[in-house]
Amino acid sequence: MSGRDYLGEFEHLIVLAVLRLGDDAYGVTVRREIESRTRRDVSIGAVYATLDRLEDKGLIKSQLGDPTPERGGRSKRFFEVTAKGVAALSRTRRALESMTEGLAAIRSYS
């Protein structure tokens, strides 16, 4: 298995955010979801750069919605995790669990 089969740290957060948001996953909601849950300052460019990379890898897919007035007549781009993305997420999670299993230092933080 190559290193490319695992998600990077920010990719991991993005895929989880898209999964949590379901049908309402677009740039703004993904950014807010990560900010509110991780208390980490995230720029929209970082979100889009990662979403584009994940889409290139086939881990997520996107489609344009209808233009809305509150966005100045611009469309939302909605994201959805693909089956390949879910598999990559599971693989990454298993790898992390395997690496942290039995570590006393990790237990003390949880």
Binding site: R31, A49, D52, L64, P67, R74, S75, K76
Partner: protein
């Protein structure tokens, strides 16, 4: 949101810079920022919203540059290197072509003013046109990171020009140093314009194919 808020627009320069570098669907990233900007205007006022917007835009630009090297490092680097080499190849060729035509038609002997124009401004104009072609080429090779690759190329040329000026001044040669600089600036602008043309064509063809 008040009626006044409806008319508040985010900083145009920040939007323009961000859209220039967006690699895909610039409309959605612009819409997302507009939506959030309107929310910040309602909650905290225009001044805070503008600062927030600039911060978002600048952070985003840094990430978009980083993304080009993370996602497609070889094609981005190849585009910058081949763009640089293409410029090194084409600039002397364009000069040779102009002087060959001037010589072929005996312009120096019969129309000296015309000769002077082409030997000075004509060469500079040919450099601007060549630069635009180099920008197009770089953007074409770098694909969706074309704009970023071209900006990096311009930064490289800017650095080299700056270093050359420094050496020139350090040697005590200040005469004729600043005369070609406006043309050099135009060369760089032409490169960016060429890249922007390729980028816009790419977005237009992608939008057309998604409508089909």
């Amino acid at each position: 949101m008040s009626a006044q808020d409806d008319f508040v627009q985010p900083p145009r320069l920040a939007t323009w810079l961000l859209l220039l570098l967006a690699s895909r669907e610039p409309e959605s990233i612009e819409g997302d920022l507009f939506e959030e900007f309107s929310g910040v205007v309602s909650r905290s006022g225009v001044a805070v919203a503008r600062r927030w917007y600039w911060r978002q835009a600048l952070h985003s630009i840094v990430h978009l540059f980083g993304s080009a090297f993370q996602t497609a490092p070889y094609s981005t680097l190849a585009a910058v290197v081949t763009g640089f080499l293409l410029g090194r190849l084409l600039f002397p060729l364009s000069e040779k072509a102009i002087f060959a035509v001037l010589e072929r038609y005996g312009v120096f002997d019969h129309h000296f003013k015309v000769y002077v124009f082409f030997a000075t401004n004509g060469v500079a104009i040919s450099h601007v046109m060549t630069s635009m072609f180099v920008g197009c080429w770089t953007a074409f090779i770098a694909k969706k990171y074309g704009m970023i690759a071209t900006i990096i190329l311009v930064f490289v040329l800017f650095g080299m020009t700056g270093a050359a000026c420094f050496v020139w001044i350090a040697r005590g040669n200040t005469s004729m140093l600043f005369a070609p600089l406006p043309w050099t600036l135009l060369d760089w602008l032409a490169m960016l314009l060429g890249a922007a043309i390729i980028r816009n064509r790419r977005f237009a063809s992608r939008a057309a194919s998604s409508l089909r």
